[in-house]
Symmetry: C2
Subunit: 252 residues, 2 copies
DNA sequence: CGTTTGATTGATCCCCCTCAAGCAGGGTGG
DNA sequence: CCACCCTGCTTGAGGGGGATCAATCAAACG
């Protein structure tokens, strides 16, 4: 039974509420947010004279906490402010599939029955909005509507790309694809430093998102390291040969 | 190189336009549409006194036509009226991955870069709307907005379920999952007759959507038939033991 | 009636899984 | 300080699920 993290022990402990200040007040964490302006926040927090700011609650979660759980219908949407998380589904027999990794700036909108849970991969800061307010804003404000649609389209596109990788790629291609997708998304958020980026995933996370076993992930990563394509060290992923990595993981 | 259909020969032949009547006029195909009322159409074609009807163009495609192609940005959205199709992506080396099968009532909204193509699986009737008009209607009309969001949520949920199946299921489970998902969607559209439903997929389509080879699909289908779970005959799929099929393909 | 499409079945091979052991690092408590 | 555990990574040996190659066959088609 691969990739099962420690049994969920913190479901019922709600993450501590940090602040409950309205958006426009001074000292909101958003004022100094490094990814603000690269994501949906930008559209949500625009200050227009005749609109009142949206309700925001900044919250925290510790590594391994599960701030959002499937089956629990939610009237909130979430924006990742700092740290990493992942969205996953669990099967009857305990297997876990990771649908998507969440990085700062990502949006979690469990509309309909999202049917997935979210677990913190590092200590996490995120921001909760009230779904009804966001919906109203989307309808009123054309720019926000467009940003919203773009957000959903991007998410769908990523999901589709992952599905193609799972269906058609072999182990090396799938892992390369995952690395490339993360690299690209971090780049878009300005979180790429040179050719390195933070990489808090354990090999079991890679395994559960690529449909491999962590044993085989280990072997494949070793091969990538030996071949000078990329290497993971100390929670940092260094891309050594981007061209080759692309040739392996782009598929298209 | 599994599952490559005949080389695309009809890309440049635009499907014949059937009619260009506004929705409210008599004799629109929509008046007698069997799936109307079970899908997004219901929300789009609501007649309200002070709104003018949306522009519609009913079109046709023949089996194997590709009415919509990736990379070609489109300002239309499509609704399947009759017949089946599928959305797919092609890789450099010719491999094809089928993301989703489209049945009557399904919506195809290539927002952002859809990055997928659509091919007709049977002779096809579909309806083209103007994206900008639909967008305006969504913003104006709360019911339409909700229907739209529900539509996107359902599509995302299906995609996620498929990704989980590709990542974690073995051959039999994946195929069972596909059959169950189709059954459920056809049921929601009132297209399920007893425990049989039309099944126009070739084994190569099953293969390319489950990440298997058509050879192995054939073996697995034989096993299902021999075990009395379900059987495909004459373009019709008969579910024989739904309980067992669910136990195999539900995963959750 | 030749040709094409699609399904079936057998034989062989390989990618990746499974099981297992070993090791390094980091708590934690004595 | 060391003993002990827990998490996570590595590496080896063996086995299996599905791929690959190939031949046959039925139905549809031109």
């Amino acid at each position: 039974m691969p990739g099962i993290d420690r049994p969920v022990q913190s479901v019922d402990r709600p993450p501590a509420v940090m602040r409950e200040l309205p958006a426009a007040l001074p000292h909101s964490p958003c004022d100094t947010c490094p990814v603000r302006g690269t994501n949906f926040c930008a559209a949500l927090l625009i200050e227009t004279p005749h609109r009142q700011p949206l309700t925001q609650r900044h919250e925290r979660a510790e590594r391994r906490d599960i701030p959002f759980e499937a089956e629990r219908s939610s009237d909130s949407i979430y924006l990742i402010c700092g740290g990493w998380a992942f969205a996953f589904r669990r099967l009857r027999d305990g297997r876990r599939h990771i649908l998507r990794f969440l990085i700062p700036g990502d949006l979690v909108s469990p509309f309909g029955e999202g049917n997935f849970s979210v677990q913190a991969l590092t200590d996490l800061r995120f921001c909760r909005f009230v779904a009804a307010e966001v919906k109203a804003r989307i309808v009123e404000e054309p720019r926000t509507f467009d940003a919203w649609m773009a957000q959903l389209a991007a998410e769908r596109s990523q999901l589709a790309a992952s599905a193609v990788a799972l269906g058609q790629f072999d182990a090396a291609e799938r892992i390369a694809h995952l690395v490339l997708q993360l690299r690209e998304r971090l780049d878009a958020r300005g979180l790429l430093h040179g050719e390195s980026f933070p990489f808090p995933l354990r090999q079991s996370h890679i395994a559960d998102s690529t449909g491999l076993t962590s044993v085989h992930v280990s072997r494949t990563l070793s091969a990538f390291r030996k071949d000078g394509v990329f290497a993971i060290e100390d929670g940092l992923l260094k891309v050594i040969d981007l061209t080759r990595l692309r040739r392996i993981g782009d598929g298209r």
